[in-house]
């Protein structure tokens, strides 16, 4: 009896471990399909109000590994020259008039609207989250992931992943207690060249901003090697010189 129970426990433990590894491996694959580890890209952020009025922002962004992301607003004129930098858990905003970087938090929004700084300066899911549970639902997997530490913007995520393309389809951002903060919809898969095939549009809405919607459009994603010094406070006002 004891031997049978031991065998059962070992098999159950191995199955559980294999399941978790699968989920984390899938999350890593999703990360790599979304973005190369070191890149440059352009993004357009559109905030859409219930009556259809829009406000648009264009950003140039660079990233190196899972610690370093930098960006600069190219338009509109009121935001041109604003810089953003992420170094690990540290985030700064550079406003040309203020003339020096100030520390910001991941929950703040540099653009207003539904996207916050963590959405804009996003790094790999796998760097910040661990898979707790994985489900299958038709053509998709659902990954239930939990933050590895308290420094992230959202405590939990539910990620719907397309089984074939290994790309996210939908993502729910939740609080620790499971309250929905926002939902991201990944749309219009596009070939950016150099093996990068990924959704080119992310739409988001939030029960906290009823009727409002924000959209992020990606363009010109290219792998690029960058020096570490690009991701420093002194370089923040000069990020556009990399273009």
């Amino acid at each position: 009896m004891l031997r049978k129970l031991s065998v059962f426990l070992i098999i159950a433990f191995m199955a559980a471990t294999a399941h978790a590894v699968d989920g984390d491996a899938l999350l890593r694959e999703v990360d790599r399909n979304l973005e190369p580890p070191s890149y440059e890209m352009y993004r357009k952020l559109i905030n859409i109000e219930p009556d259809g009025r829009k406000k648009e922002f264009v950003l140039y962004m660079v990233r190196k590994g899972n610690e370093k992301v930098a960006g600069m607003f190219l338009s509109p004129a009121s935001d041109k020259g604003r810089g953003m930098l992420r170094l690990g858990d540290n985030m700064w905003l550079y406003i040309p008039n203020v003339g020096k970087p100030i520390r910001i938090t991941s929950l703040q929004s540099a653009t207003g609207g539904v996207f916050n700084n963590a959405d804009i300066l996003k790094i790999d899911f796998g760097a910040e989250y661990a898979v707790e549970k994985m489900e299958e639902q038709g053509e998709e997997y659902i990954l239930h992931v939990k933050a590895k530490n308290k420094t992230v913007a959202y405590d939990r995520l539910n990620i719907w992943v397309d089984k074939k393309q290994k790309l996210p389809v939908k993502l729910e951002c939740l609080t620790e207690k499971g309250m929905l903060i926002k939902t991201l919809y990944y749309k219009e898969v596009k070939d950016f060249g150099d093996g990068i095939v990924r959704p080119s549009v992310i739409e988001t809405d939030s029960p906290l901003y009823k009727g409002y919607k924000s959209v992020m459009i990606f363009s010109k994603i290219k792998k690029r090697d960058l020096k570490d010094e690009v991701f420093t406070l002194t370089f923040m006002p000069k990020v556009d010189t990399l273009r």
């Binding site: 009025r53 829009k54 540290n90 203020v98 938090t105 207003g112 009823k210 020096k227």
Partner: protein, 436 residues
């Protein structure tokens, strides 16, 4: 009549808004390649119109200093307009940058115009680690939001509006930055040469000096740390340090300390007898920035201004102003009033001239889900005499490139206190800004 003029200014400002509103459009998301094109040059800036209505305090010392030889008035209005142009031209590793500011104001003093080059420099970047800059530049040292005691090579900023662009000084400077793996992530060195001669930085300090200053920056254990230094020259020698760190994702703390050796101060007694005081000034600031789950941001700072005036010294100055004003009214002789004005310009009239201050600003981002609408409440308390200012404001940025801010300021304090002796009791300001 004055109020009618102010409200006409406000109406003019608001009348511009509808013309800038773009109608809603269908859901078509496009990202035109032309929006990401790189150009060697850029040109932009903003135009601003800012009508102001001030309710004057006719018994206040600074009212007397401003209006002693003018017609008395309970209210004054101002119509300020500004054009700020920013341009750059990049070629290879070199970049030319210019920020020019033109003001045209109609105040109680009549029409006034001013054109200044705020910044204008050549930047050469031989590598991504190095940047050599020659020209007029704002350095913006220090981590404080409202005050920067360690900004050794900058003009003082206005704590009532700390994010306003400042005019720089003509310098030769460089940034050398190195990144590392480990606890020390970044180290950066910024030496500054600042010549002070006739017609070149001549408002910085005493003439005929080539001043040297330097800043060393470290990102160490996720903490921004600056060490700051200014050699003795046009101004006394100074040492400083600052830091900034996130305790959690929504809670930041910062601090700043400065030691100025041989700081000089001209003080007066209640009869106008002046004396020069030389002492080592130790200033410091501690602050925090906290964001709640409901998107309210609190910025709080405590500032000890070691170079400031003691409460008794300030009271003596206000008494002297009263004496000088009584003398002017009685005899018509403005000599004492002029002396009081000069003393005001030499330090007593600074924005926050005393020793200890508390700053608190609460900003609520987009309350009631109203996008681009940001109300804020700011208070500056003089901890020595308990007088204070209270400034509610609302900012509206819904229309692309258009920014509308309404700000009121109420000053409170009995006679003989800093805010009680400012010229105005309260002021109302509308700022309409269009970026292009």
């Amino acid at each position: 009549m004055i109020r009618r003029g102010f409200f006409m200014g406000v109406l003019f400002c608001l009348a511009v808004v509808p013309g800038l509103v773009t109608p809603g459009a269908a859901e078509d998301y496009s990202f035109d390649v032309s929006e990401t094109e790189t150009k060697p040059y850029s040109l932009g800036g903003y135009a601003e119109f800012r009508p102001v209505l001030i309710d004057q305090d006719r018994g206040a010392a600074f009212y007397k200093l401003k209006f002693y030889n003018r017609a008395k008035t309970w209210t004054t209005d101002e119509y300020n307009s500004k054009l700020q142009l920013e341009g750059s031209y990049q070629r290879g590793i070199s970049k030319l940058y210019l920020r020019a500011n033109a003001d045209l104001n109609n105040t109680y003093q009549g029409w006034d115009n001013d054109l200044q080059i705020y910044e204008g420099y050549l930047s050469v970047k031989p590598s991504q680690s190095t940047d050599i800059i020659a020209g007029k530049k704002v350095m913006r040292w220090g981590k404080g939001y409202a005050w920067n005691p360690a900004a050794f090579v900058d003009r003082p900023k206005n704590p009532d509006d700390p994010e306003l662009a400042l005019e720089g000084y003509t310098v030769l400077t460089a940034d050398y930055t190195k990144s590392f793996d480990g606890r020390l992530k970044t180290a950066s060195l910024t030496p500054v040469l600042l010549p002070v001669y006739r017609n070149l930085n001549d408002t910085f300090g005493s003439l005929n000096h080539l001043d040297l200053a330097a800043k060393a920056y470290f990102l160490f254990y996720d903490t921004d740390i600056d060490l700051l230094y200014r050699a003795k020259g046009s101004k006394p020698g100074a040492y400083g340090a600052d830091f900034s760190r996130n305790i959690s994702t929504n809670f930041e703390v910062h601090g700043e300390a400065a030691f100025i050796a041989g700081n000089s101060q001209t003080i007066t007694d209640k009869n106008g007898n002046t004396a020069k005081k030389v002492f080592d000034a130790k200033s410091w600031l501690l602050g925090l920035r906290y964001q709640t789950e409901k998107d309210a941001t609190y910025i709080a700072e405590y500032y000890h201004n070691g170079g400031g005036f003691a409460a008794g010294t300030m009271t003596d100055y206000f008494s002297f102003v009263d004496t000088a004003y009584a003398s002017y009214i009685g005899t018509g002789n403005a000599a004492l009033m002029q002396k009081a004005v000069n003393l005001g310009n030499s330090g007593y009239g600074a924005v926050n001239p005393m020793h200890n201050y508390v700053y608190l600003r609460v900003t609520q981002q987009e309350p009631f889900n109203i996008l681009y609408f940001t109300p804020a409440l700011t208070t500056i308390v003089n901890a020595d005499d308990r007088s204070f200012s209270l400034s509610p404001e609302i900012m509206w940025t819904r229309i692309t490139n258009f920014e509308l801010r309404f700000k009121a300021m109420f000053l409170a304090g009995p006679a003989g206190t800093e805010f009680g002796e400012k010229a105005g009791n309260d002021r109302y300001e509308l700022r309409c800004r269009y970026y292009f």
